[in-house]
């Protein structure tokens, strides 16, 4: 636990009756763009809310940017911006009024808060519409206001809870680009939760994966995705000896019939599959990386 760490948690546990939303989570995260993945209900939101002091942990400790979450909650909240997953905007005020009010709530003097609000709304692409009532905004625009209010006081750490939720593919893309830009170019550390691995892969450097409140993985994002990648190999005809030969060459092979699933160790795996196919003169129809859903990743690891 060093003062330079972004987030440091030790045995962090939260129980709701019999449900273990967090179960002895321990991690020490360095500043940067961090992804926090887990299936819905895995405890991601609970973790963020505990860091902000919006929830009390059942046991364990944590600190954010060196501030203890229990004894220095106000200090934590000064340097953190939070974008919740759920709706959190009043509908009968304008975006500019609301965002600058939130800036003032974080201690910015009136004029500075107005200026920052205008800048942030431009940053998220709402400059033209900033005087309209929030109630008249689309889901995508509301997500942008949520991001703007989290940024208005220039936090050192941004906690984004499923920022792409409810957006169409185009909106998702734009939001991720915005998040990426904020994290990469402006030196603000980010903790981004998502149940979609693709989003985390795209934006983050480090990933924390949890399932049922337990830490499953913590480290570089490429190592995380590589070790769980699977190559799908389709052949036109059923070739039982194909799978057998691949296994003989040391590969982990699943499935039977025309579709085999081969665990991808490194790039050499492709060569092995090619060589075996050539050897058997197998009619290869398709060979591609399988897109994983998170649930499968966890099953693969524990099984």
């Amino acid at each position: 636990m060093t003062s330079t760490s972004l987030i440091s948690a030790k045995d962090l546990t939260k129980h709701y009756g019999d449900v273990h939303a967090l179960d002895g989570l321990t991690c020490d995260v360095a500043p940067g763009v961090v992804g926090f993945v887990g299936a819905n209900g895995a405890g991601k939101t609970t973790f963020l809310r505990i860091l902000l002091g919006l929830l009390e942990s059942t046991s364990g400790t944590a600190s954010v940017l060196g501030f203890d979450i229990a004894s220095q909650a106000l200090e934590v909240r000064k340097v953190v911006g939070y974008m919740p997953e759920h709706d959190c905007l009043p509908l009968d005020v304008s975006a500019t009024e609301f965002v600058s009010h939130m800036g003032e709530m974080s201690g910015l003097p009136f004029t500075a808060a107005r200026e920052r609000a205008a800048e942030m709304l431009r940053h998220v692409g709402l400059h033209e519409e900033r005087y309209r009532l929030i109630g008249s905004y689309s889901t995508g625009m509301k997500q942008r206001v949520k991001l703007a209010q989290a940024l208005v006081h220039d936090p050192r750490l941004l906690l984004l809870d499923e920022p792409t939720n409810g957006l169409d593919p185009e909106g998702r893309d734009e939001m991720l680009e915005l998040v990426e830009r904020t994290g990469r170019s402006f030196g603000i550390s980010l903790l981004l939760t998502s149940h979609l691995l693709g989003e985390i892969e795209r934006v983050c450097e480090t990933v924390i994966a949890i399932d049922a409140g337990k830490l499953q993985y913590f480290g570089g994002v490429s190592a995380f995705t590589n070790r769980t990648q699977v190559l799908m190999v389709d052949t036109d005809d059923e070739l039982p000896e194909f799978a057998a030969k691949l296994r003989a060459r040391g590969l982990d092979v699943d499935g039977a019939g025309v579709r085999l699933r081969v665990a991808l160790k490194d790039d050499a795996t492709y060569d092995v599959v090619r060589d075996v196919a050539a050897e058997l003169n197998a009619p290869l129809a398709r060979m591609e990386l399988e897109r994983h859903r998170l649930e499968e990743l966890f099953v693969t690891r524990s099984g």
Binding site: L54, L74, E75, P84, V93, R116, R122, H123
Partner: protein, 289 residues
């Protein structure tokens, strides 16, 4: 390209960052403005305008009549708070929901509580804001009456010297009565998840307590019967304002018949306000949404 616009946008901020007291004042003032529908749609201003009309109109009429007829004594403060009670109840019923339940219903409470203020600060700022807004509604008309009594006579200075002592009960009474109504309305609203339920519970409280009083009045006797007026918030406010302005309650009125020491009303108003504030704060004891 949209992206070129974004590039201009983000700049670091290294200016002043003010403390917790500033955040508290920010929330207080923002909520006072919200209570009068400032910066919001026309709908948000309906109740404040209606209530202001109800409370200011009699003051305007009194001053107008006194001015036309020259009968300065036509103007009196003593019954003002009692008269305004139901209008004040309507105001706090609507605006407690606006200030407190809106944030819960919209989810905005989570944003407030992730800012550098505590949940207790939040609740206190809302209580201070609704009290302030109610003071405007309650004290405004009385100040108007005061100005009428000072400036309508031929010698305003002499009138002022006779009248200025009345400022004390006007200000003190308005503050405490506003606190009383605001605290009760917020305490009740803190249990509601939706605005309509909050308003309904506050209105029900101010309608049902007089009904409860009426029942209690018929089934009790003697000394106990005198004290049951304390169940009825409107009578409590009435007794309190009579004591403040040193008026003799009419023998035929309920408060007159009860013949309780005037101070008792003061203690009941203060006690009820503090209990209600305690309930409100206990609802926001934890920083959890």
């Amino acid at each position: 390209m949209a992206s070129t616009i974004y590039d201009l946008g983000y700049q670091r901020y290294d200016g002043a960052r003010l403390g917790r007291g500033y955040s508290f004042r920010t929330l207080w003032w923002y909520s006072v403005k919200a209570a009068f529908g400032s910066g919001r749609g026309e709908q948000a201003r309906r109740v404040p305008i209606l209530v202001a009309a109800i409370t200011f109109l009699p003051a305007l009429v009194q001053v107008g009549v006194a001015s036309a007829s020259g009968m300065i004594n036509f103007i009196s403060y003593g019954n003002y708070l009692e008269f305004a009670s139901y209008a004040i109840a309507l105001f706090v019923a609507a605006q407690a929901a606006e200030l407190l339940v809106n944030d819960k219903q919209n989810g905005t409470l989570a944003l407030y509580l992730s800012r550098p203020i505590g949940a207790t600060d939040y609740a206190l700022a809302k209580l201070a804001a609704l009290t302030t807004a109610t003071v405007v509604i309650v004290m405004g008309p009385q100040l108007l009456l005061f100005l009428g009594r000072v400036f309508l006579p031929d010698k305003p200075w002499t009138a002022f010297k006779e009248e200025w002592m009345k400022l004390l009960p006007i200000v003190g009474g308005s503050l405490l009565v506003s606190f009383f109504f605001a605290a009760i309305a917020l305490a009740l609203s803190s249990f509601a998840m939706r605005r309509a339920f909050a308003s309904a519970s506050v209105i029900a409280f101010f309608l049902l307590t007089p009904a409860l009083y009426a029942v209690a009045d018929t089934i009790t006797t003697g000394a106990l019967r005198r004290w049951v007026v304390m169940i009825n918030p409107v009578l409590v406010v009435s007794g309190y304002s009579k004591w403040l302005f040193e008026l003799e309650a009419s023998r035929r009125s309920v408060v007159g018949r009860a013949d309780l020491p005037g101070q008792a009303y003061f203690w009941v108003v203060l006690g009820a306000s503090l209990v209600a504030s305690g309930v409100l704060l206990s609802r926001y004891r934890k920083n959890e949404t």
